[in-house]
């Protein structure tokens, strides 16, 4: 199915990543957004607030991020596609509702335009310090999907992708932007509506009696209905059975949590998305995501000019993590170098998958700006020295 043309601004635009994210959401069919002002993400909701009255959408500025992150879920059960948008401190406030969305299998998108933390940190400057929070921030065991764009164009394209994955797997999807990408202005080409692929949740239309709202088929993703359809559904954050009824048993917990994990894990090959360049035959692979994928390129080029065999793997989907691919690479390269705008987060995943088979070098950065290519170059050179 393709995008509703009413929301699609086909053409070439010179806009920032935040605005491109808004346009991506509209093209994806998002028609409810709740948010609370916070730098550097506010431009996303500002544009949504400006555009929504003309495309059949409702935007509401809620009283805080906690309210925003649950209002969107009310809207989803009212039949809409919905998202909320925030940055560091606001993202912290939303954590409980990421768990609620995971538990109730409410498809929705959380946009986090990352800024340097902890706490108030550097509100107007970039970081990638929320990557582990995106994965693990809510209590208990669950799975989410997280995506990291590296340009305004990708803020558009991948926001659509985020909604599509969210609808497909009924899972909260984190759009992990950062201040640099969010405020960077570049050309964004918006295709014609019929060229934009849009997925919608599987809707149940069978008999109303004995409808099992949380019974999943082989793909482990249940069908969905909305409030008002006459199915008299019950949705709870408590451990629940297929009917959606609370059930405080160990067996129900085991079955439910296992399925919530498996619907992402077992479909990981379809969800995982990365780009590689010069990885075949490389001695060193630089693994990046988001804005860091761009700052690493000059370093990789300089290293290759010096004769080093350096490849580049860029995570587009960060969670689930491409474990298999990193394991494979670790078995045949000398080193993996991972620059990220945090003090070392995704690199733990790399280390876990490499399991000692190759040298893993973190290039940490506390945030506030992006890496200097020379620092990444130095790490690349150091990574195989003495090996």
């Amino acid at each position: 199915m393709h995008a509703d043309p009413i929301g699609v601004l086909t053409g070439a635009h010179f806009i920032d990543g935040d605005h491109a994210c808004s346009e991506g959401a509209i093209a994806a069919g998002c028609r409810f957004v709740a948010g609370y002002p916070i730098t550097p993400s506010t431009e996303v909701v500002e544009r949504i607030a400006d555009r929504f009255p003309f495309v059949g959408g409702v935007f509401i500025q809620m009283e805080d991020e906690i309210a925003s992150s649950i209002a969107i879920q009310g809207a989803v059960w009212g039949g809409k596609k919905a998202m909320t948008v925030t940055s560091g401190p606001g993202f912290s406030l939303m954590m409980e509702h990421i768990g609620f969305a995971a538990m109730t299998e409410t498809p929705c998108v959380f946009v986090d335009v990352q800024r340097a933390g902890p706490s108030t940190g550097l509100p107007t400057m970039p970081a990638q310090g929320d990557m582990m929070q995106a994965r693990w921030g809510s209590h208990g065991d669950y799975q989410i999907i997280a995506i990291a764009p590296n340009s305004p164009q990708e803020c558009f394209d991948l926001t659509i992708h985020a909604f599509n994955l969210s609808e497909r797997y009924r899972v909260p999807v984190m759009m992990m932007m950062d201040e640099c990408v969010g405020h960077m202005i570049e050309r964004v080409v918006i295709p014609e509506a019929e060229k934009i692929e849009v997925h919608n949740r599987k809707v149940y239309e069978g008999p109303k009696e004995n409808y099992l709202a949380f019974e999943a088929g082989r793909d482990l993703v249940p069908t969905m209905v909305k409030a008002g359809d006459g199915y008299k559904i019950h949705v709870t954050g408590l451990t629940h059975d297929e009917k959606g009824y609370p059930n405080m048993s160990v067996a129900t917990q085991a079955k439910l949590v296992q399925r919530l994990m498996d619907k992402i894990r077992l479909n990981a090959d379809d969800i995982i998305k990365y780009e590689e360049e010069n990885v075949e035959g490389a001695d060193i692979v630089v693994v990046t995501f988001g804005i860091t994928s761009r700052t690493a390129i000059p370093a990789i080029e300089q290293a290759r000019a010096k004769g080093l065999k350096v490849g580049h793997l860029r995570l587009i989907v960060c969670w689930p993590f491409p474990e298999k691919r990193i394991r494979e690479l670790a078995g045949r390269v000398k080193a993996i170098v991972m620059p990220e705008l945090n003090m070392g987060q995704m690199v733990y995943e790399v280390e876990r998958c490499a399991a000692g088979k190759c040298n893993v070098v973190s290039v940490p950065h506390a945030g506030g700006t992006v890496h200097q290519p020379k620092d990444i170059l130095a790490a690349i050179e150091k990574s195989i020295r003495g090996k």
Partner: protein, 298 residues
Amino acid sequence: MPEELYEIEANIPANPIEEYLRMDRMPHIWCPGCGIGTTVNCFVRALQTSGLDLDKVAVVSGIGCTGRVAGYMNLDSFHTTHGRAIPFATGLKLANPELKVVVYSGDGDLTAIGGNHFIHAARRNMDITVILINNMIYGMTGGQVAPTTPVGATASTTPHGNFEETFNLPFLAESCGAVYVARWTAHHVRHLTKSIKEALAKKGFSFIEILAPCPTLYSRRNKLGDGLDQMEFYRDHSQIKNGADTKSVAIDFQGDIVVGKFVDKERPTYLEAMNNHYQKKYGDRYVPSEEMRKVFHA
């Protein structure tokens, strides 16, 4: 079990409210003497005569004893997170204005952890009905002090007595802009049923506070007897004062309780304000959602 007992059970006529409940979830978790079930009965009887299409009524609860109401109603029902029933209901209503969205939750849930949402939904005149069960205590977690615990009462976290000022909820709701404000007790079943029916028919933010006994944690700890004693107290110490100034209806420990309908007024609801604003400003350029069009632009 002897054969004849089966016979007797089979001959018990169905309770007329059964079809409104998820009977496959009974028995419920509420304690003997708890007032919540009584209020649910009133809610159902209000629904019965409300003329509402029950396929279009949704109940949203937070967490706590009252938070379990959503799970027992045979309606679209949402048992959300602690304190967040109102913002969830806000999203639900804005997504589909055809729905009658009822928030049914407790005093701690709605006015402590959820207090911020309560005041803003009232300010916006959000199109929802809020039914708040005030048992003056956190029941589910074992009897801790709430913003609604009267001064002088004890709770597990105020073992030496509560000295914090108590929320006067009707005053709070009115101050923030609620268009319908009433207070009843679990004893006033007829008044309450009528009041819920009125609140359901009301556009905008309607609010009913219902005092209900928590014999297990509040009454016992405060040596007030059991559920029946509390109901008798409500009977003997309630004064019906419709139209009373909400400033004057604060609750004291075992003092008289002013009940009644305090506020019933009109002002534009959130949805009306939004639709009128855009319609006026942009005319045909304004594109309301399909659901919005059905309700506001028919």
